[in-house]
């Protein structure tokens, strides 16, 4: 008898939560043998068995031994693990099982949306997914890159695809960080058809990188008849990337923001990342200038000490003073301090209110000139004031009716 083809996906062990391990042995003979053990067997064992045989049916598996060790995995996780295990066992399997895109996930985004906070979620750790949106980050990033071990990358892509469909993002912008190119190009098939709003392109070093991603995205959009925009946030993480940052920022109309990643950058420089950050001052300023010159948002790196809330606040205040508009988060507790630190100060709000009022007045009277007292107000000042007002409302510092 031929030895069975085996595929395994997911995790097992006493510390595992909200995940499962699925092993599929394609035996060629002997029919289907499904063995399920579950932490929630009493309550959901029936549903799990039903789901597994439904999946076997969907993929037309006739002869296999399927072993499921479940630790309270939700249905979209189980189907992602199943499909990954099956496609490891049989790389020629072309069929897929994608959960329905939730009605509440069918919203769009736009280029100028606020991106103060973006929460990174390791793409192969499903326990963090379901509640991430409750913490109200501006964006949620399902990460396929550095937070996923190489051996788990294949399985992670199914999990990320299923999450884009089945996890309620509660209005957060839907982001995915793909792998470094060229592998990142393969990731696009898993995300572009499922209403991803922003694709983060890591370790971006040239306009060419962005163009490759854009071409592939356009191809997939065409195939799936998708008309909504997909935006790009290249991440500058090397000396070369820093020097090319303006080229990168202007490489596509779909670039919404330019971000900097300092862990890799400081390694590339051959130095250490310090709290003070002198070593990265040039790079951060370069990215801010490139982004502003290209009229996209400059976005700062993550603050990696989750327990140091004062340090986080100081780091955001500094980022804001350098010209950044957003910061990465690796823990939901960082979201609120970031929003607070990026929020405008009371005197900024007061000034902005006066400018916006003067602008409205000028509009009403048909005068082309906006004036505040004896002072002329330029268009960019009005635009900045409007942004300040918007930020103030979004941060709960100003009631919409007060404008």
């Amino acid at each position: 008898m031929k030895s069975p083809k085996i595929g395994i996906a997911g995790k097992s062990g006493t510390s595992v939560r909200s995940d499962c391990r699925i092993e599929i042995q394609l035996t060629g003979t002997g029919g289907l043998d499904i063995a399920v053990t579950s932490k929630v067997d009493q309550l959901y064992g029936g549903q799990i068995r039903e789901q597994i045989s439904g999946l076997a049916d969907h993929f037309k598996i006739k002869n296999a031994k399927i072993i499921v060790e479940d630790y309270g995995a939700l249905p979209f996780i189980i189907s992602a693990r199943f499909e990954a295990a099956l496609k490891i066992a049989d790389p020629d399997e072309k069929n897929s099982f994608v959960p329905e895109l939730l009605e509440q996930n069918k919203y769009g985004s736009h280029k100028e949306k606020m991106r103060r906070s973006r929460l990174y979620l390791p793409g192969n750790e499903p326990k963090f997914f379901v509640n991430a949106g409750l913490h109200k980050p501006d964006g949620i990033i399902l990460d396929l890159e550095d937070s996923v071990a190489p051996a788990e990358k294949f399985a992670a892509s199914f999990l990320v695809r299923n999450s884009l469909c089945a996890v309620d993002f509660y209005g957060a912008e839907r982001m995915v960080r793909i792998n470094q190119l060229p592998r990142g190009l393969e990731d696009l098939e898993f995300i572009v058809p499922y209403n991803v709003h922003v694709i983060l392109i890591p370790k971006c070093e040239s306009a060419e990188d962005v163009k490759k991603v854009e071409a592939k995205v356009e191809e997939i959009k065409k195939k799936h008849k998708i008309t909504s925009d997909v935006y790009f946030m290249p991440i500058i993480e090397s000396a070369k990337g820093v020097l090319k940052s303006f080229d990168i920022a202007t490489s596509s109309d779909h670039i919404c923001s330019l971000a900097i990643g300092l862990e890799d950058y400081t390694a590339d420089l051959g130095t250490q990342r310090t709290l003070e950050g002198k070593e990265s001052f040039f790079a951060r300023s370069m990215v801010v200038n490139a982004a502003r010159a290209a009229a996209v948002q400059p976005i700062d790196t993550v603050f990696s000490d989750v327990s140091d809330m004062d340090g986080l606040m100081a780091s955001v205040v500094e980022a804001k003073s350098l010209g950044f508009e957003g910061k990465g988060c690796i823990h939901p507790r960082q979201i609120d301090p970031i929003h607070k630190a990026f929020a405008p100060a009371p005197e900024e709000i007061e000034k902005a209110k006066k400018i916006v009022a003067a602008y409205k007045e000028a509009e009403k009277s048909g005068s082309g000139v906006v004036a505040l007292g004896s002072k002329m107000i330029d268009a960019p000042v009005v635009k900045r004031a409007q942004r300040t007002i918007r930020l103030a409302v979004q941060n709960g510092l100003l009631n919409e009716n007060e404008i």
Partner: protein, 518 residues
């Protein structure tokens, strides 16, 4: 024994362990009359004139106390999971060949798994207290000889005071005691703060044995337990594992979802207008409970609001409130960490309370209904706001009631709970075991939204302009069921075979726990 439907619509046995029982009649629907129960009259002439009641060991004390088959033996749970006294006590009872004991602890812990062989060989007939962890599992599968009886801390006092439970011998582990039997929990290697759960036992039991690992000369000050109620004093090497009696330090949860719940709790208390000068609240030691105190503290400081008192379960976080002048008093029912123990020992504003003062149904009033806000947990809540704290959705007993039922009488009772755990919904159609009637539960706060009991129109009105995610409870339930992939299956239970009963605070039977088929 037959099952009858009580006022909550639950099927409960009319006879529990051979004693006729009263089905639940509604909140405050049952008020027993007659006179308080009293122990036998004693004369000081029968006790050593020099006040020295020390006997060589626990075995001698039990024999002197007249231990025999079928007696009720009580213990307290202030030593928590570090308790070795209870295990040693039953080792001795077993060695003496005593059978059919009713064990009447104020709560049990996983360390009491040691007692399962004594349940099996008939040394212990059944437990009236709480059946946690392994004991809960054992009971749920119908292995205990008698029926378990679950009571609240207040209900335990009530049952002793009105004679529903007669304690033959009380064994009171005491971190410090003198030879006369005066005892406290604030000093010694096994210090646990206070020993208020043993108060009823010391006053009402026929015989009282104090066991200590820190015998001091008379007088032991403070005397949380009065020696005048004590028959014998036993000195031992150690009451237990100090690191499991109180934690060195209690830590706030790191779970972002629990912290979000805690933040909502603090905001709710402020937005609903409950956080005002002179207010009071109850806080426990669960992760979410500790965290809400920290968030509320920030809000109190920002608005310059001070509490008159807080009720613990004390921890270092409540101690900080007291020491920073944000509350005038801590009224403490049990102490969870070393900072709490230190504060109780040193600070006259950190007050030792007992279930009598705090929770007792037969008192002339109790503290629980004076408290403005109580923040509690639950294992399940249903769409009618009924809640369960003793079993999980799989039907297995896992926790005791503690002071939970008693705290429901606060002016605003908040349950702070996740909407699901792993894949298991916490908000359900109907709770597995009813421990608290929905009429007393005002607010459910989850990470997915806040549901206010429709009976509390005043609270709904107060928060109508708040930025909090106020929702209908059914809305949260539907969302959770969508996430979890439908409703869970019910466990297989034998609905003709109760294995335990849940008592209401007045001594009536609120619900049954039925045998789970393995």
């Amino acid at each position: 024994m037959k099952l009858i439907k009580n006022a909550a619509g639950r099927m409960v046995p009319d006879v529990v362990n051979g004693i006729e029982s009263i089905p639940y009649k509604g909140i405050n629907g049952h008020k027993p009359d007659g006179r308080n129960y009293g122990g036998p009259i004693r004369s000081c002439a029968d006790y050593p004139a020099d006040g020295n009641k020390v006997v060589p060991g626990l075995k001698e004390a039990l024999i002197k106390a007249g231990i025999k088959d079928g007696m009720t033996i009580s213990t307290h749970h202030h030593l928590r999971n570090g308790d070795v006294v209870t295990n040693q006590l039953f080792d001795i009872i077993h060695e003496l060949g005593i059978k059919g004991v009713r064990w009447f602890p104020s709560a049990s812990f996983p360390c009491h798994e040691h007692l399962i062989p004594y349940l099996e060989d008939g040394t212990i007939h059944h437990i009236e207290g709480s059946m946690n962890g392994p004991l809960g599992r054992y009971t749920s599968y119908g292995k205990m000889k008698g029926l378990g009886v679950l009571r609240s801390h207040g209900g335990r006092y009530q049952s002793v005071q009105d004679g529903e439970v007669h304690i033959d011998i009380a064994v009171i582990a005491s971190p410090t005691a003198d030879p006369f039997g005066n005892a406290n929990g604030v000093s010694g290697n096994s210090a646990c703060g206070l020993i208020g759960f043993a108060l009823a036992d010391s006053e009402y039991a026929d015989r009282v044995i104090v066991v200590t690992d820190n015998l001091v000369p008379f007088p032991c000050i403070p005397w949380q337990i009065q020696g005048n109620n004590v028959d014998y004093v036993v000195q031992v090497d150690s009451l237990g594992d100090a690191s499991k009696i109180v934690s060195g330090t209690t830590e706030v949860t790191k779970s972002p979802d629990r912290l979000l719940i805690a933040e909502y709790v603090a905001q709710f208390i402020e937005d609903a207008g409950l956080m005002k000068d002179g207010f009071s609240f109850q806080a426990g030691a669960g992760g979410t409970n500790l965290a809400f105190v920290l968030y509320l503290k920030e809000r109190m400081k920002a608005k310059n609001v001070k509490a008159r008192f807080v009720r613990g379960g004390s921890t270092k976080y409540l101690v900080q409130l007291l020491e920073e002048g944000l509350t005038d008093y801590i009224l403490d029912g049990q102490t969870f960490d070393l900072e709490g123990v230190r504060s109780m020992r040193e600070n006259p504003r950190h007050i030792n309370t007992s279930p009598f003062t705090s929770y007792n149904f037969h008192g002339k009033g109790n503290f629980a209904s004076i408290v403005d806000v109580a923040v509690l947990g639950a294992t399940e809540v249903d769409v009618n706001f009924n809640a369960n704290v003793v079993s999980h959705s799989d039907g297995l007993l896992l926790h005791g009631i503690g002071g939970w039922q008693n705290c429901l009488f606060s002016k605003c009772t908040i349950l702070a709970i996740p909407s699901f755990r792993d894949r298991i919904p916490v908000i359900v159609d109907d709770v597995m075991t009813l421990c608290g009637p929905g009429e007393l539960i005002d607010v459910i706060i989850t990470e997915r939204g806040i549901a206010i009991n429709p009976l509390r129109k005043d609270l709904l009105e107060c928060v109508k302009n708040s930025s909090l995610p106020i929702k209908e409870i059914g809305e949260i339930k539907s969302e959770v069921e969508r996430i979890c992939g439908g409703k869970p299956a019910l466990p297989t239970r034998d609905l003709n075979e109760p294995v335990a009963v849940v008592k209401w605070v007045d001594g009536t039977v609120l619900d049954s726990v039925f045998k789970v088929i393995e």
